[in-house]
Amino acid sequence: MTKPAGDAVFGPTHTHAGAVAEGGVVGTGGAGKIDGLARITGAAQFVDDMVLPRMVHAKLLRSPHPHARIVSIDTSAAQATPGVVGIMVGTDLPIRHGAIPVAQDETALAIDKVRYVGEPVACVAATSEEVARSAARAIQVVYEAIDPVLSIDHALDPDKPLIHPDARKPSNVLRRVFQSYGDVDAGFEAADAVLEEIYEYPGSTHVPLEAHAALASADPDGGLTIWSSTQNPHYVHKTLARVLELRPADIRLIKPAVGAGYGGKCDTFVSDLCAAHLSIKLQRPVKLALEREEVFYAHRGRHRTRMWLKMGMKKDGTITAIDFKAWADGGAYASYGVVTAYYLGVFLTLPYVIDHVRFTTIRVYTNHPPCGPKRGHGAIQPRFALELHIDRLAEQLGLDPVDVRLAQLVQPDTETVNGLRITSVGLRECIERVVEASGYRDKVGQLGEGRGIGLASSAYMCGALHGVYPDELPHSGVQLQLDRSGRVTIFAGTADVGQGSTHMLATIVAERLGIDTSICTVIEGDTELTPVDLGSYSSRVTFMAGNAAVQAADRARAMIFDAVSDHLGCTPDDLTAHGGAIHWGDQQVPWAEACVLAESKHGTLGTEGSYKPPRIGSRFRRQSVGPSPAYSFTAQVAEVTVDPETGISRVDQMWCAHDLGRVLHPEIAEGQVEGCVYMGVGEAMLEDQTYQDGVMTTPSILEYRIPTVYDTPPIHTLLIESHDPGGPFGAKEVGEGPQLSTVPAIGIALHDATGCWLERPPYTPDRVLRALEGKPARHRPLPPDIIPRRRKD
């Protein structure tokens, strides 16, 4: 088998797969996605749709206390319930796990103590959901309450109890990050105006419409198959092996259709671990599907974050320096919180050139459900503060805030002060296009009382250079199987949770082979069949799995061209692939026939491709979180109306221009932008995850206010192509970045409408009225920015 030379080493800096063939599939739409009809007809099988012979159902008992010692658990009444077949408690699976190797602080079920209201304590398997539910309620747990840690201030109070007293280095601070670049103090001295303000960003949660669920089936010949509603099959697979003490090779994890995640299904959940354990113990299939209220406790959503920002600006608008502090309430467990602490700071240097930047971020533990990665992970909160701040300083200095931005955009092929390598940048075009489309120049300051318009911009990563586990392995793998019928089967460990990565893979492979996507099948997210992909997080899939698909397809193409050139009597270089055939001048060989020629010459046809991010040296050894092979850019404009009598505000329209490198499929890409803007509108206007004495105030879809069709403004999407040199066909991410500038654009528009700066979303009528009445925001004194020394323990 011949393989093209030069790509044996992973991670070339430039893997751009070149031009799109005439009549090619990249960039074409209007015909849905290859797996679209299954979802529209109800045929797609989600975990909860599956039933296996002898299957039993599992239900959980959860903690009513935010912080308590478990004195005893009496399961006898549950055990005696007819229909109950198995019960497990925390000590049945004592091995700790966690998303990040340095912060493994969770167990499947609570052991010895509970750390948030809603934490799972026991699990019951029974012949019906109803029996399992009532038996779980019959379990008697005696608790001894511990003083709860219910705020960032509590977490930094050295007299409050430790949430994880038996950790290696016990502290209620999971991670503090301090980084400084340039000379920040000199930067402030060079400024004509310096402004410091306090901001607060609310907590919010993903609310995927499909609740987390797992169905596990132990195999009598050894091993376990588990279907999990997950974004990260590989990490869940790894965690299951660790906690269940099985060889990874003995676990098959399958990701069936998943009803979205938005970051909420990145972790390994109690459903995965308990279904797996009980299935092995009982030797029968066990399904554990969370109920809606439980999804709110599973959480892993946006960290409620308090922020302090100081920025200096010259009379010409140049930002001279930034000093930033953030404190994030992370809830009871680490999840991805170590990464959150970095993301709160490292992207301050994008998308504007700022040479003097310093930040301190602190991610604490509290007795709330654990926070984690939600769309725009960690970058949403500082972006909100920073964009508002730019407008405030521009206003002080009498400058146009859009021109201020345009004058200091990061440039292609440069490096930021904190060592982020920038490749393609389409932000100037994003800003110009969105300003034009929205009529911003004619509207700003001129819409009349109660109406306003605002612009914000942002940048986001296309996957992380460094995986969660430090190793030399590829981040994405794709294998192709070419059948003599012409069918191309694409095997990838990716997790399509609705974003369209299945169609993305088919598009890329079809384009390189000159065929239609309808002759491609994608088998994805199955650890027994598909090569590893690290998962649907950090906006990495198009960039990384896409590049692996390019490599696999190019290797297949080389084999096809080799055989067809023999047949036609030309050289492989003479051939092109398009329109379902291989062409040499006027002669052509239809695709299926070309496959037969290649199989005849080479034997069974299969290729593989891998992607590992390029090794980009950084000047900063500590800078391992934040660097990405490429960055996407966004500019958006919000238009709002405020009723000054009631404070009721609404977003009338949103315009969003996003530099995604290259459009692979227009409707899918637009849909990602629209979904981001929608989720941002929710965070700006409605969603606020609050707690009263540790009890979540809104654990239902009625109480937790998700935007309905009435709350969602028309969203005008502009896709901007900057052709990234490293992206597959030049493509970058589109699934998260557009959300970053939504909330600040709305905040800035509300200022245009009211003259008030609203430093704390969501912009509910009470907050807007307070601001309109001239009352200052209620900011509590800021917490300390160092980790206080504990007096005892």
């Binding site: 009809l37 979802r39 529209i40 007809t41 797609a44 419409l209 609705g498 849909g671 803007v677 009625l702």
Partner: protein
């Protein structure tokens, strides 16, 4: 147990269920029509929408017992086998389904709208979708698909 006789997607169904069984559980668990989804079990999200005698109904908060003698249509019965309802075809072309979990409920809800009014205006489409949560799309592509079926100019 309660004996029930009803029509589901044109087929006569006779069954016996506990009196407190929801219509959703009857459809999903007893009849294995899993196209209709559990979203919240509280009537908050619309994922479980089906038609009862042609009218949209939240099946998670409807008792199966109240459907005696009635005609139920689920997403599986929106069109003849192998065919698509026009709203399904439009949702497909516009990529109105991302994760697809809300989609059966939305397709069923919109089919009821078009049955009632083949040419609804934008406001009527909004009103029809008011009780269906979609967390992926921002509704934009769903509205575009519905507008196309309604014959509204984009």
């Amino acid at each position: 147990m309660l004996k029930l006789s009803l029509t589901v997607n044109g087929e006569r169904v006779c069954c016996a269920v506990p009196a407190h069984t929801s219509l959703l559980d009857l459809l999903r668990e007893d009849l294995r029509l899993t196209g209709t989804k559990h979203g919240c079990d509280l009537g908050d999200c619309g994922a479980c929408t089906v038609l009862v005698d042609g009218k949209p109904r939240l099946s998670c908060i409807s008792l199966a017992a109240t459907c005696e003698g009635q005609e139920i249509t689920t997403v599986e019965g929106l069109a003849a086998p192998g065919e698509l309802h026009p709203i399904q075809a439009a949702l497909h072309r516009h990529v109105g389904a991302q994760c697809g979990y809300c989609t059966p409920g939305i397709a069923v809800r919109l089919s009821a709208l078009f049955d009632e009014n083949p040419a609804p205006d934008e406001a009527a489409i909004h009103d029809a979708l008011g009780a269906n949560i979609c967390r992926c799309t921002g509704y934009t592509k769903i509205l575009a698909a519905a507008a196309e079926v309604a014959g509204l100019k984009p």
